[in-house]
């Protein structure tokens, strides 16, 4: 029986920021990174039937994203790059672009890559953020990552300042413990 299931309706909430950070550290352009994440979700939907449940959902999406990133560099790269695309991808007569979407399966090996990815600080933090309750993650991201003012967050989420600090405290405590395991032990 498969250990993991796909749940596309939750992909954006659960993985969009993680995939976005993964991409931006590799392509260094916000717009391109957004597009690649979007393409990854759509490619995931197209190849959903190949998902066997061996790898975690996010790991599988990352494997698609990796190929999207490679594809991106091949497209913008030199003639040499283009030649490689022709040689590697069209020798079985498939039309352009369809090589990926219909073929991405998942394998057990993919899970081992999760640990490797956590060696990137941004991803290790993202990973810990996904383990927080939704409200805590939302407040922490607004306050810490987006640098919003306390007053603005309180207004937007309809909470008091003391509520906010309690939430921040809980989030920070959980994150400290998580990073202790996820980051410092991996260093």
């Amino acid at each position: 029986m498969p250990k993991h299931k796909l749940n596309p309706s939750k992909w954006v909430d659960l993985y969009a920021d993680y995939l976005f950070n993964y991409t931006i550290s590799r392509v260094n352009d916000t717009i391109i990174a957004e597009d690649l994440v979007q393409d990854t979700f759509l490619a995931g939907l197209k190849s959903a039937e190949n998902f066997k449940g061996e790898a975690a959902e996010r790991t599988w999406l990352i494997s698609i994203l990796k190929r999207k990133i490679i594809d991106h560099y091949r497209k913008i790269n030199s003639n040499k790059g283009r030649a490689e695309v022709k040689m590697d991808l069209h020798n079985d007569g498939e039309i352009e672009g369809s090589w990926l979407e219909q073929k991405v399966a998942d394998s057990f090996d993919m899970n081992a890559e999760d640990a490797l990815q956590n060696k990137e600080l941004g991803l290790a933090i993202q990973d810990c953020l996904t383990k927080l309750p939704k409200k805590q993650a939302e407040v922490f991201i607004k306050k810490t990552i987006q640098g919003m003012e306390t007053e603005d967050i309180c207004k937007e989420l309809n909470i008091t300042a003391s509520n906010l600090w309690v939430i921040i405290h809980r989030a920070r405590t959980t994150l400290m413990d998580c990073l202790e395991n996820n980051w410092y032990k991996n260093e």
Partner: protein, 83 residues
């Protein structure tokens, strides 16, 4: 206990709360003194304070970015439209 000490004395929880606010530059001068005073002898506060500053530092170093709210809505719409 002297009056001065009483003014500066805060509980461990309160000290942690001040420490949280300090990470965002939102602690007042008096609060900073209160925290410093507690840090002189409270191990739990000291340990929390150290980890808390480390977390702030890591978050700065990581340069984490988040997707726009509108972009996320658009992505959800496209995913829903696919199925």
């Amino acid at each position: 206990m002297s009056k001065k000490k009483k003014v500066l004395l805060v509980s461990c929880d309160e000290a942690k709360h001040i420490c949280d606010k300090m990470q965002y530059g939102e602690a007042t001068l008096v609060e900073k003194f209160k925290l410093k005073f507690r840090l002189m002898w409270c191990r739990a506060t000291k340990s929390y304070s150290k980890k808390n500053s480390d977390l702030t530092q890591l978050c700065k170093e990581a340069k984490i970015k988040t997707l726009d709210k509108e972009k996320k809505v658009e992505m959800k719409r496209k995913i829903d439209g696919f199925s």
